[in-house]
Symmetry: C2
Subunit: 514 residues, 2 copies
């Protein structure tokens, strides 16, 4: 058994049974080993941004890592932006980067580069495996690191000769580091704060946004008359009818300030203190009111599940909170697609158990509101601000959850970053509906320019923010990669096409001309 | 004048009058300043790999840098692979990366990342500008670094508040570091070697591949009975009728060994000693015969122009070498497109002064041979091995050289990496003909797998190397982004479509089904 085979077998033993990649010559041993070691599913992405974004979407929904396979430093570079998003999402990924053979590095061949310096910026764990005898143990350590609390990226750099040399025996698997327990004194202190009667809010993120924890947070909120908030861009929020509905913080800094006005105690549960997404001249970076005290119940690495339970117990918060009622609107009967009718069309059609990947930015801002009362579903956001995550993450979510419909809400500008994801959706026959919101502009930037105090964009600036001319024909684009595609201009057509797509196996693309 | 305006004005003073970018919120000051400071041309790429690849193509042809504009660490990540190629090509680029405001970094907002660690892997010069008072001087230093010998990447990290604050006065420009002179003793020693009569070869790269230097090398070769070789993947080779034709080294290691067999003295002129592109089990990394001595006339940083002249003078090499004669074949009259007929079709139609960007990999291996006798043209190769360079570099070359036809020879796998470049070609009306060689496979990898001794790919491996199913419809894909597109299956159709495209202003795409 060579190093590549040992690596794959160790991945399988450690519960990693999907590799998404785009290999090159230095990864041929790994690719060949896929046939020697059965049971590993292998999926090709035509670009590494698709690969890493799919690994992110997969990890968020499967709660276990996929492995990637990237071609040296440039392949890692191509995948870096979606690894950045995955790092912010706290997604578990075993990130495998091929490299030149150990003895070949010294010649600085054309593809040689400093992989480690790039990888460390997104990786909680990183190692260059230098011997086939150790590749099994290195892989086991990588899996444990990726699965440790909170989820993180473990990068294993694999020189070609380590892959092709005779490997050592099967390694012992390593237990991932569990989430840290929260001290009783912390629970008690926060319970006292919440008993004070002063205006308080819980701010949730991470695992606290799963259904059981949401209910606990709702019980605590009810008992303490505290609001229950969630981060602006959660990695995965379980929501919809029958679940406890949190208030999601808005995007713009001044709106976050408004949402937090009057709060005297902000209790963080797997969340960070809210700060501005970007700095603006004369506007604050810190958005929590000066009169508000911030308390940490659980950091991202802490066991927020147990902490919420303990806090509920300490408060005697046993009363069930009000849960979201089912509210499915009628489909729109006509009219242009605008942010409101877009949301209504989706809400009227969204199937039970859907997974919505939301990279709709400006055009989709009202959709979360409209879909609050839909049947239970998951909502996945752009956590790291690097656009081009939506189509790949939808691809990965569909790989993780066969039988569930995935809806990617995509701005046209974001869609063009990693449009190659459509091809993988078609090849794998994934149940993804990509809704492309074609406003033909980086619309958010026109807003941000005004918020910068720069006034309206001048002619050159306008060109730099506009995605037309030429107008992109997303129907032709989708079909060119094997995805059935259509274009709609009215809300009733949109609802009809959504319904059709949800009833049809495999991917489809709906361009919405705004 | 704010920092962004000072930056742009300094770029203009330093001869940098094109910025290619994809900005975000942190770059809005820069974008707004484009209207405040006239004369700077601004071109939008829909993905940063297009941006950096276009800057590479532009720099290779313009012999001066373009500026990029990238959105924080993720934007840099997306552009990293083509910066890697540009680094290997020794292309001058002023690489501007926006960042959070200096006072905002501490909050680790979602888009925050370690930009410097990533940037230093491709940059010969890097600085985070920390004050608007210094932004002019920092920009001047960046331009000098980019233009220094040999061409290199200078990365200027621009925090948002440095861009929006009141700037200092106009800075003094800085002279770039010129190429280092080559010592007389080196010239004399190499002249002595070449006079010995032992079998010798010059190996050229960089500036030595421009017409006057090629003629000098040809004179030296004639005088000393030495072969004149060039690197496998030159950044820019001037070739065609009336020029001195070099022997390009092949790609596969064993073929390079064959090409160098019997050479006793290898004289490097702006080139590195040939080594294997990848390592293979049991094959050598070093390809120069053991009996061959390697001599360096000029490193990449040295003045190879003066060195070649001095060497020619020392040898009394005054006789003109034989120049390439004009040989334009007749267009094929029918038959399938294969590597040979592909080359003939291009050779029969290639216009005078064309720029060929060659990322054709396996399918195009015979094209350089077929086109050797065409009218004078430039040949641009994939220098860093990171695919996805061709369409962007063609875009940049066309921006640098209006009036010259650019031909991108693209494998289908490579084309899909940065396919968004087509949109910029359409928007800017660039004279680029993209020839997509659709063999529906990462064909090189099937070869490399066999060379690895792994035999034929198994079913899973085959899937990972195949770009179909689904078959990509490049005609629909090109048209979707505004590029007139067609598909051909025969060599006469190919020649006819090439001719039509060369006679038509603006971009076009020709899919060649192989």
């Amino acid at each position: 058994m060579n190093g590549a085979q040992r690596l794959i077998q160790t991945l399988l033993s450690g519960g990693v049974d999907l590799v998404i990649g785009n290999p090159g010559t230095s990864e041929m041993q790994f690719v060949s080993a896929l046939d020697a070691v059965p049971r590993m599913r292998a999926v090709l992405g035509l670009f590494e941004g698709v690969v890493t974004g799919a690994a992110d979407g997969y990890g968020r929904m499967a709660d276990r890592p996929a492995a990637t396979l990237l071609h040296l430093g440039p392949g890692l570079g191509n995948g870096l932006a979606n690894l950045h998003n995955a790092r912010r999402a706290r997604t578990s990924i075993v990130n495998v980067v091929g490299d030149h053979a150990t003895f070949h590095k010294q010649y600085d061949a054309p593809l040689n580069s400093d992989i480690a310096s790039v990888a460390h910026t997104v990786s909680a764990w990183m190692k260059t495996s230098t011997s086939a005898a150790e590749i099994g143990a290195d892989t086991a350590a990588a899996i444990a690191a990726a699965r440790g609390a909170p989820g993180q990226i473990a990068t294993l750099i694999l020189p070609a000769d380590v892959a092709w040399s005779e490997a050592g025996g099967e390694p012992a698997l390593v237990d991932p580091i569990p989430p840290s327990p929260v001290a009783v004194s912390t629970i008690d202190a926060i319970a006292a704060v919440l008993r004070s009667g002063e205006p308080a809010a819980l701010l949730l993120n991470g695992r606290a946004l799963r259904e059981p924890q949401l209910v606990l947070a709702g019980r605590i909120g009810k008992r303490a008359s505290a609001r229950v908030l969630c981060d602006t861009f959660p990695a995965r929020l379980e929501r919809g009818a029958g679940r406890f509905a949190v208030e999601r913080l808005p995007y713009f800094g001044e709106m976050i300030q408004g949402a937090l006005a009057g709060v005297r105690h902000l209790v963080l549960v797997g969340a960070k203190e809210p700060t501005a997404f970007f700095a603006f001249p004369g506007r604050p970076s810190v958005l929590v009111p000066e009169t508000c005290r911030v308390h940490t119940l659980a950091t991202e690495s802490d066991d927020c599940v147990a902490a919420l339970q303990a806090l509920a117990d300490a408060l005697g918060a046993t009363d069930a909170p009000e849960l979201q009622s089912l509210h499915v609107p009628s489909a729109p009967t006509g009219g242009a697609v605008d942010p409101v009718s877009l949301g209504v069309a989706l809400a009227a059609t969204l199937p039970d158990g859907a997974i919505v990947v939301d990279e709709a930015n400006t055009a989709g801002y009202a959709v979360p509101m409209s879909t609050a009362g839909c049947r239970p579903h998951d909502w996945l956001c752009l956590t790291g601000g690097s656009i081009g995550m939506g189509l790949p993450a939808a691809t990965g979510a569909a790989l993780a959850c066969p039988g569930r419909r995935v809806v990617a809400l995509e701005g046209d500008g974001s869609a063009m970053y990693t449009i190659q994801a459509l091809w993988t959706q078609a090849r794998e026959g994934l149940d993804v509906t990509s809704v492309i919101l074609a406003n033909r502009s980086y619309a958010i930037l026109n807003l941000e320019m005004m918020r910068m105090g720069l006034g309206d964009a001048g002619p050159v600036a306008k060109q730099m923010l506009a995605i037309a001319p030429p107008v992109i024909d997303f129907v032709a684009l989708g079909r060119s990669m094997g995805v059935p595609s259509c274009s709609v201009r009215t809300a009733d057509d949109l609802a009809a096409q959504l319904r059709r797509s949800f009833a049809t196996q495999g991917p489809s693309l709906i361009e919405v001309v705004l």
